[in-house]
C-alpha cells in the first residue's frame, strides 16, 4: 500500500517549546487516525542550543523518522537557517514573520509560509510560545487534516483552565484559517482514518509493560535516557501498588532490587551505561544467589559521561562482561518501541524460571522516541510464569527437615523458597556454597563440590532458548545481500531493505533480539544461503559483528556503522549497502550532516548520501 507520509521538522532552542509543540502536533494527527514516529535530536542544555524534532506522519505506520523534511516549523532564526535547504519540492516552511526572515532562497518548489503571528493572536504579546500554537494550526491544514483533532488536544491538555483552552484554540484556529487563505497545501496530502492511536515513548512502554507483567518493585537513580521509566512508575506507583524508590546510586539500586526480588516480588531497575557499570558486581550476585533481577540499560552514546542525549548501541560488550566469573545471564534487545512494551514480561518470566539476571538493552532512540501504537495491542494480560517458586508451606510446617535451596537437579533449577515461609530456612550466599547454602568458598580441597555447583548453575542455560523465539529471515531467500542488525535498528533496516529491493538490489533482512543465549543453529541456517552479509550497527567497533563471528563463525562481508550520536536513517543504510556491494568496501561509516551549511550541529537530513568509506585492514578490495 502506498500511503503518503509527511515529515514535519520542528526546530528551536531549548526553552522554545519544541517538544511540547511536537507533542501537540503528534497527538492531534493521531486523533485523526495518523500514525507517527518521532525522534528528537536534542542537547543536554536547559536553555539555548538547537533542538530538532522530526515527526513522520502517515496512515501507514512509519518504522523510523525518515530521511527528508516536507514541512519545517522554524521557531527561531537558527533553525530556519540550518534547515531551509533540506526541504524537498512540494514542501513548505512555516515561521513567525514578525521575528524571522529566510537568509537565503528556499530550494525549488518549496513554499515560504510566513505567519504574521502578532496579528493572528493577541496573546503572543505576553506569551511568545503562542507562535508554536499558530504554526501547529497552520501545518495541520497544509497536511490536509482537519482542525478538530488539534482542538480536542488543546482542550484535554488544558482541561483545568478554560481560559487557556480558549486562547490556544483561537490562536491555533487563526493559524489554520490563515493557512487556508494564504498557502498552498503540501504536495503530499494525508487522509483522516478511523484508527485510534496511543502516542507513547519506548520508556513509557517499558514501564507500563513491566507493571502489566507484575512488576512490584522498581528503584533507580536518575540518568538520561532512562529517567522517564522512573517518572512514569512514580506517577502511577500508588494506584498500581508498586513500590518505587529513587535511591542513592546505582549500586544501591540493583542491590535493593535483588533484595526485593529475593523476598518474592518481581523487581526491575533501569539506568544507562554509566549506572550499569556501577551495577555490575551485583549482576553476578543475582547469578550466584540465583535470585532473579531484570535490569534495563537504555544505552546512550559514548564511554564515561559520553553524550548523554545521543543514541548508540555500544554497550553490548559491557552487558556480556558485566560482573566477574562465569554465571548464567540472559541478554535481550527490543527491536522497536512496541517491543519495549512486551519485553519486560518475557524478561521476568525467564528471569523467574531460570533464577538469573536478565539484561534488556534498550537505547535512547527507542526510550525517548515517540511512536503511535494501536491501543488494542497494549491491553495485554501478560502470562506470568514465576517458575519454581515456593511461597507457602504446603503442609511442610515449620519442620526442621533439610531444604536444599541449591539442590543439584537435572535441569539445574532448584525450587526457590522465599524468606518468610515456614520450613524452608536457608542462607543464600554470594560466596560459593553447597546445595544447602553453606559456604564452601574456603574449603580449598573441595574441588568436586565447587565444580558441581558451577555446573548446576550453567546447566540452566541449556533450556533457555526454548522460550525465546528464533529470528527469521525477512525477504527473498535467495537475495544478493542480507542485512543483519540487532535491537533498535529493525525499523530503519526494514525500510532500507524495501528500498534496495525497489531499486533492483535483491536484499533480505535478519534482525536479532536475543544476544545471550544466541540462536546459533537458527542464525547459522538463516545465513547459510546469504551471498553477502552486511552487519548494520550503531557503534564504532562492530560489537555485534564480533559476537556473530564468535558464536557462529560467520564473518560478515561488510559493515555499516554509525557512532556520531544520531540514529541511522534509511538512506544511510541504502547508501552503505550500495557502497559495499558496488565498491567492495569492508566498513562504511555513515554520518548525519548538514552539507552546505557551516554548523557544529550534525543532525541535518539533506543532501546525497552523507557517508564515508573507511580504509581498514579488511578494505584491500576497495576500488580506487
Amino acid at each position: 500500500m502506498n500511503e503518503p507520509d509527511v515529515v514535519v521538522g520542528i526546530g528551536g532552542a531549548a526553552g522554545d517549546g519544541v517538544a511540547s509543540a511536537g507533542n501537540t502536533l503528534a497527538l492531534s494527527v493521531a486523533r485523526q487516525g495518523q500514525a507517527v514516529y518521532a525522534y528528537n535530536s536534542y542537547q543536554s542544555v536547559i536553555r539555548g542550543g538547537h533542538s530538532w524534532l522530526r515527526l513522520r506522519i502517515s496512515a501507514k505506520k512509519p518504522l523510523n523518522h525518515g530521511d527528508q523534511v516536507d514541512a519545517l516549523v522554524a521557531l527561531n532564526q537558527d533553525t530556519l537557517d540550518r534547515h531551509l535547504q533540506e526541504l524537498v519540492a512540494g514542501g513548505a516552511v512555516l515561521y513567525n514573520s514578525a521575528k524571522l526572515q529566510p537568509a537565503y532562497a528556499a530550494p525549488p518548489g518549496v513554499q515560504l509560509c510566513p505567519l504574521p503571528v502578532p496579528d493572528l493572536t493577541p496573546a503572543y504579546r505576553d506569551l511568545p510560545v503562542m507562535q508554536n500554537t499558530v504554526a501547529v494550526g497552520a501545518v495541520i491544514h497544509l497536511m490536509g487534516l482537519d482542525f478538530k483533532g488539534l482542538e480536542s488536544v488543546l482542550e484535554s491538555t488544558f482541561a483545568k483552565k478554560p481560559q487557556v483552552v480558549k486562547t490556544n484554540v483561537e490562536a491555533a484556529r487563526a493559524g489554520y484559517d490563515y493557512a487556508v487563505a494564504h498557502f498552498t497545501p503540501l504536495a503530499k496530502q494525508l487522509h483522516a482514518t478511523s484508527q485510534r492511536w496511543a502516542l507513547v515513548t519506548g520508556n513509557e512502554l517499558m514501564a507500563m509493560g513491566a507493571a502489566f507483567a507484575g512488576c512490584k518493585f522498581y528503584c533507580a537513580y536518575p540518568m538520561s535516557p532512562a529517567t522517564h521509566i522512573l517518572e512514569w512508575l512514580t506517577a502511577h506507583a500508588k494506584e498500581l501498588g508498586i513500590c518505587v524508590r529513587q535511591v542513592e546510586d546505582e549500586i544501591s539500586v540493583i542491590n535493593m532490587a535483588i533484595g526485593a526480588s529475593h523476598m518474592g516480588v518481581r523487581a526491575l531497575c533501569a539506568t544507562s551505561g554509566g549506572g550499569f557499570a556501577l551495577m555490575t558486581e551485583a549482576v553476578g550476585l543475582s547469578g550466584m544467589l540465583e535470585t532473579p533481577v531484570v535490569v534495563v540499560n537504555v544505552q546512550r552514546a559514548g564511554p564515561s559521561t559520553g553524550v548523554p542525549t545521543k543514541t548508540e548501541q555500544a554497550d553490548l560488550n559491557q552487558a556480556f562482561g558485566a560482573s566477574q566469573g562465569d554465571f548464567p545471564r540472559i541478554i535481550m534487545a527490543p527491536l522497536s518501541m512496541p517491543d519495549c512494551f512486551a519485553m519486560p514480561a518475557l524478561a521476568f518470566n525467564v528471569a523467574d524460571r531460570y533464577q538469573c539476571p536478565v539484561i534488556i538493552l534498550s537505547d535512547l532512540l527507542m526510550g525517548e522516541g515517540n511512536e503511535t501504537v494501536d491501543p488494542a495491542l497494549l491491553d495485554v494480560d501478560f502470562e506470568i510464569d514465576r517458575g519454581e517458586l515456593i511461597t507457602s508451606p504446603d503442609g511442610r510446617g515449620a519442620a526442621r527437615e533439610p531444604y536444599l535451596r541449591y539442590k543439584d537437579t537435572p535441569s539445574g533449577i532448584s525450587p526457590r523458597a522465599v524468606p518468610g515461609v515456614p520450613g524452608y530456612l536457608h542462607v543464600a550466599a554470594s560466596d560459593e556454597h553447597d546445595e544447602d547454602g553453606v559456604l564452601i568458598s574456603d574449603v580449598y580441597t573441595d574441588t568436586v563440590r565447587r565444580k558441581k555447583m558451577a555446573d548446576k548453575r550453567s546447566r540452566k542455560m541449556a533450556d533457555v532458548l526454548k522460550h525465546l523465539p528464533a529470528p527469521t529471515l525477512v525477504g527473498p531467500a535467495d537475495a544478493d545481500v542480507t542485512l543483519v542488525g540487532w535491537g533498535s535498528t529493525w525499523g530503519v533496516i526494514s525500510e532500507a531493505v524495501e528500498r534496495l529491493n525497489r531499486e533492483g538490489i535483491s536484499a533480505n533482512h535478519l534482525q536479532i533480539k536475543f544476544l545471550v543465549p544466541f540462536h546459533v543453529a537458527e542464525i547459522t541456517a538463516a545465513l547459510s544461503r546469504s551471498r553477502k552479509i552486511i552487519v548494520v550497527e550503531n557503534n564504532q567497533s562492530g560489537q555485534f559483528a564480533r559476537h556473530l563471528r564468535a558464536e557462529t563463525g560467520i564473518t560478515a562481508h561488510g559493515h555499516i556503522r554509525k557512532y556520531d550520536g544520531e540514529p541511522f536513517e534509511p538512506k544511510h543504510v541504502v547508501a552503505g549497502a550500495r557502497e559495499i556491494l558496488e565498491r567492495g568496501t569492508a566498513v562504511v561509516e555513515v554520518l548525519s550532516t548538514e552539507p552546505g551549511w557551516q554548523t557544529e550541529h550534525p543532525t541535518g537530513t539533506a543532501g546525497d548520501w552523507t557517508g564515508r568509506a573507511v580504509a581498514t585492514a579488511h578494505t584491500s578490495s576497495v576500488a580506487t
Binding site: 506507583a237 494506584e239 526485593a260 526480588s261 497494549l378 518468610g420 530456612l425
Partner: protein, 295 residues
Amino acid sequence: MATAVAVLDVKDFKPEVPPDWCPGCGDFGVLNGLFHACAELGRQPHEILVVSGIGCSSNLPGFFRSYGVHSLHGRALPFATGAKLSNHEMTVIVTGGDGDGYGIGLNHFIQAMRRNIDLTYIVMNNEIYGLTTGQVSPTSETGMITKTTPHGNLEGMLNPIALALASGCGYIARGFSGQPKHLQKLYADAVRYPGFALVDVFSPCVTFNKHNTYDWFRKRVYRLEDTAHDSTDFHAAMDRALEWGEKIPIGLFYRNPNPRPTLHTDDPGLQAGVLVRQAAGVGRAERQKLIAEFT
C-alpha cells in the same frame, strides 16, 4: 501480621554449622547476644531475615538459624532495604563489620538512616579488616600500626555514633562483646524500635588487632545506663558520642522519643499492605485507564 510465639529458646536459633571464627573472636559474643535477644523477642526463625555483607563478621548469617543472606561487601543495607520494603512483616537484621558498613558501604549507611527504613543494624566493629588479614579500617585509631599503615594510621577515625546522630538515626547504641547480656537488651530494644536502629559493637579481633584488645576495652568502657545520661536528649547523646580515650561509653546513646514514620508506613506503593502478598499484574479496567492517558 504473623502472631509472635512467646516461648522460644536460644537453641531454636542455633544451626548445626558452628562458627569458624578464630577462638576468642569477639563475634562469638555478638552472636550469643543475638540468640538470646531473638529468643526474647519471640519471633519465629522463619520470620527473621539476617542480611550481611562480606567479612569475618558478615559470616554471621551462616551461624544463625533463620532466613539469611550473605550479600556483597558493603551492600547489605541496600539488599535489606529492598527485602524489608517487599515484606515488611519480616524482622530484618543486618550484620557486618566496620569495613563493610563504615568503609565501602558508608554511603548506604547514611542513606539508610536518613530514609528511616525499619532495620536493625549490628556492626561488629573490630577497628580492623579481619577477613583480609589486618588492614587499616575507617575506625582504626589515628597512629595505629596495621599492615597497610606500617608508619601509623595518618587518617582520622570515623565516629559512627556521632554520624548516626547527625544522619537522623532514631535508635543508637553501642555494646561490647565482652558483655553479651547487655548486648541482648540493646538488640531486643533495637528490633522493637520502629525505624532504623544502630548497634555498634566493640568486637575484638584477637588475631589482627593487637591494640584494641578485650583488656583495652574492659579498662575503658562504662555503661551509660549507670550514669544520669538522658537517652532522649539529642545534644547529651552527641556529647557522649564524642567521648573517646580513657573512658568510652557503651549502652543506649539516643532513642528518639518521637520516632519518624518508617519508610514502609508512608511509601505510596505500600498502602495496600505487604508487597509480596499483593496480586501481580494489572486488571483490565485499570489497564485501559492507563492506556487512555496516551490517546
